[in-house]
């Protein structure tokens, strides 16, 4: 009975090696077990009696590869030949798909062979199978022994159905594989017939070819190869105790089930091994992907690695472009990828597969899956002598990223489900790595553009800072200039206030004295005349002082600070000096000053503006008197001097007064400046003297020079150019 196992997509065919006791059934299985590829068979399960005779059955599972999308496996059983074990034989035959009858060629076994064959027919019937139709192949064993029946003799007694016959020597393996191939083909064809493939000769012949391909590796195997020993199970029950047929059949069924589970276990452990290998591949691939930084590195590494894992040479990698179209970025072993070719609707198979989001495997010999039968690209793949197609859509965070394809040829064989699984995992891995690398790259780009923006901004800020600094410096300068101007203004204001104070004092003092003296004379009119005279004198003195003050005030007011063109005339020096000194005589006498006048011989006349010169000279002399100490001296000198090419008249006044502090010297000629503390020294006058003198000297094209030592005295010299004055 064909067993379809849909979970594992496999078809199990059951073939029973039948024959008389000791004819060599188990030996055949042992040989097959030895020569088959360990990857494609299970262990050999042997349930023997203690006397090394088959008690129940032997079992060997063989993997014949994929047929129409299903994995084809064979389960080979032997039955115990002893007559008393008929219940076991019947149970083993249940659901069998083919029988290999092993006959013992020795003449002494002629009867046993016939009895066993009859027993086979009987037991098949008991299992509801038609002995005339169950696929059957005969193996005439022990051909190496003497005293054997001839092939013809054996045919006559055993092969009434004219089924294929193989002569074998099970102990050395001669003919064993060929006989096995025979029963396998017969069984597969019978199953195919039962599945309705009889009227599809093409499919049938391809099936046979598949079976041949599957069996070929068995033939190539060297029989002397070292092999693992059979698994030997010793049931605790003794054969002699197993009399009751029912009990025996139950035991056989139980053992069958157990053996089946063992087979499944074998398959699972094989599967597990493949998966572990896949996991290793995935792990290694993941490591490579995590080391890769650049998207290009990942795409190249991914395709190459995938093709190596799949043991194929052809494949391509597509990535989704900006407009959602698939762009081939890498191709191996193909002039062009058949899946990239667009059909009339403008869509390529690759894009259809990507849109389906499902990975795909197809094999061309089976045209599987069936819906691809009419796909135009199948022809193209076939023409490239390719057999298997694998395509895996790539997604990262549920966004389509691309598609990878791989193609296998007949030598490599079609792709297996496990391989599709592996390719899917590698694809998901690569897609994630690629998405990460892209994100990383755009992050880096963002970062670098941010950096340059920051640098630019920093530069701008530095510029702005520099500009701000220079503005601040300009402001500071402006501020200083303003402060200076302000201070000058305040100084001027203060000077103005001091001038007013001085004027008030200078005016009020004589006025108070005159007024008070006048009131005394009026109030005490009976006082003696000698006393009244004193107050009249006071009135006279203070009036003169007031007059002098008013005159100099008027002069300052009229002259302003004398400006404009002087009107030069010749003046007698002696007369000029007399007029200058006259108003100061009283003061000079009061202060007990010694005044010396020195005029150079021959200097009788000077030329200049009379009133200006008189005012200037008097101002200078008045200062010498005013700021002198009591009993000091004043020296007035007039003489011609030469300075360079020019001739001057020098008018020089030296005193022994308080002097001018060095820091005040530059201000001495400023309007209203006055030496000394105005409260405690209280100089008379308005602080105009030197300013007037300087202006007068300059009006005449000359200069005024002052030198002084604080506490010792001051020298003021006015130089008037002789020539210029004359010309003017």
């Amino acid at each position: 009975m064909v067993q379809f196992d849909n979970q594992y997509r496999q078809v199990k065919l059951k073939v029973v090696y039948y024959g008389p006791s000791l004819c060599g059934k188990t030996t055949c299985l042992q040989y097959l077990h030895r020569v088959t590829d360990p990857q494609r068979r299970t262990k050999l399960y042997t349930l023997n009696t203690a006397s090394d005779r088959t008690l129940f059955f032997d079992l060997l599972g063989l993997d014949l590869g994929r047929v129409r999308g299903y994995r084809l496996t064979l389960q080979l059983y032997t039955v115990p030949g002893q007559v008393q074990y008929n219940a076991t034989r019947r149970a083993v035959l249940a659901g069998c798909d083919g029988v290999m009858f092993v006959a013992d060629s020795q003449k002494s076994f002629a009867k046993a062979n016939e009895e066993s064959l009859a027993n086979l027919a009987e037991n098949l019937k008991a299992n509801g199978l038609n002995p005339e139709q169950v696929p059957l192949v005969l193996a005439y064993n022990k051909r190496d022994l003497p005293d054997v029946l001839s092939r013809t003799e054996l045919d006559q007694s055993l092969n009434s159905r004219r089924v294929p016959v193989f002569e074998t020597v099970a102990t050395s393996g001669v003919g064993v594989v060929e006989a096995f191939t025979g029963i396998t083909k017969a069984t597969v064809l019978s199953v195919a017939d039962r599945l309705g493939m009889a009227n599809q000769p093409e499919a049938l012949s391809r099936l046979v070819e598949n079976v041949n391909t599957a069996l070929q590796p068995l033939m190539r195997r060297v029989s002397t190869a070292e092999v693992e020993g059979p698994v030997i199970l010793h049931p605790s029950a003794k054969g002699d105790d197993l009399r009751a047929d029912e009990l025996l059949a139950e035991a056989v069924r139980a053992n069958l089930t157990m053996t089946d589970l063992n087979v499944r276990l074998d398959q699972l452990s094989g599967e597990l091994e493949r998966r572990v290998a896949n996991l290793h591949s995935i792990n290694e691939f993941g490591r490579l992907m995590s080391l890769a930084r650049e998207p290009e590195e990942i795409t190249a590494g991914f395709l190459d690695r995938l093709l190596i894992e799949l043991k194929v040479a052809c494949g391509s990698l597509f990535l989704v472009g900006e407009n959602g179209e698939l762009i081939e970025v890498r191709r191996r072993g193909l002039a062009a990828d058949p899946l990239a070719r667009r059909d009339e609707s403008g869509q390529s198979p690759a894009e259809v597969i990507l849109a389906s989001r499902q990975p795909l495997i197809a094999r061309l010999d089976e045209v599987e899956p069936a819906q691809l039968q009419d796909a135009h690209w199948m022809e193209e793949v076939r023409s490239l002598n390719l057999l298997g197609v694998l395509a895996v859509p790539l997604f990262a965070q549920d966004r389509p990223l691309g598609l990878v394809t791989a193609f296998s040829d007949a030598t490599r064989g079609a792709f297996e489900d496990v391989e599709l699984e592996l390719a899917s995992v590698l694809g998901a891995n690569a897609a994630t790595a690629l998405a990460n690398a892209r994100a990383w790259r755009s992050l880096e780009q963002l970062n670098s553009s941010l950096e340059s923006a920051v640098a630019e901004r920093t530069h701008e800020l530095q510029d702005a800072l520099t500009r701000t600094k220079s503005l601040a410096e300009q402001l500071e300068e402006g501020n200083l200039a303003l402060q200076t101007a302000n201070k000058e203004l305040r100084d001027l204001e203060r000077l103005k206030g001091e001038l007013l104070d001085r004027i008030a004092h200078e005016l009020n003092t004589p006025v108070t004295a005159i007024q008070t003296a006048g009131r005394i004379l009026a109030r005490y009119d009976e006082m003696p005349p000698e006393r009244a005279v004193k107050f009249v004198e006071i009135i006279t003195q203070e009036s003169a002082r007031l007059g002098d003050l008013i005159a100099s005030s008027l002069q300052a007011a009229v002259l302003g600070i004398p400006e404009g063109r002087p009107t030069p005339i010749g003046m007698g020096v002696a007369d000029l000096l007399r007029r200058v000194l006259a108003p100061l005589k009283g003061e000079i006498a009061n202060r007990r000053l010694a005044v010396q006048v020195k005029v150079a011989a021959g200097l009788d006349e000077v030329v200049g503006d009379e009133s200006q010169l008189e005012a200037a000279l008097r101002a200078i002399v008045r200062n010498a008197v005013e700021f002198n100490r009591d009993g000091g001296s004043v020296v007035v000198t007039m003489r011609p001097v030469r300075r360079g090419a020019s001739a001057f008249v020098e008018f020089r006044v030296e005193d022994t007064g308080i002097g001018i502090p060095a820091q005040d010297l530059p201000h001495a000629c400023e309007v209203f400046w006055q030496g000394g503390n105005r409260l405690t020294n209280k100089p008379r006058g308005l602080g105009l003297g030197l300013a007037v003198a300087k202006r007068v000297a300059e009006n005449h094209g000359g200069t005024l020079e002052i030198s002084s030592e604080e506490g010792k005295g001051t020298v003021v010299a006015m130089f008037l150019p002789t020539a210029v004055a004359r010309q003017a």
């Binding site: 104070d501 008070t516 009131r519």
Partner: protein, 122 residues
Amino acid sequence: MARPLIVLVDDEPNIRATISFILEMEGFRVETAVDGEEGLEKIRALKPPVVLLDAMMPRRDGFDVCRTVKGDPALASVKVIMLTAMGQAADQEKGRAAGADFYITKPFDEEELLALLRRLTA
């Protein structure tokens, strides 16, 4: 009745002469000083009830003398009348800051001065 003593401090000889004459004629005794330094000496020595003090003087000005008198507890009874040609508010303020009791500007009305002196020495 003893004649009240007035100390007159002024550097102007004609001012000293006229004022002291009037005060003496009106029943006061007058001691004069020609500058602040001499004035302070006489104030300390005589402790007069009233001092007539000129502001603008050599050696030591009137404001300084006034401050010194007002800062000396021994001279607490001495009334100071600042007598100056200056009539500006700033200088009056300066006088008040120095602790002057009265402030009379030149030229002054002698009756006003006499009335003040009589009141202070009564």
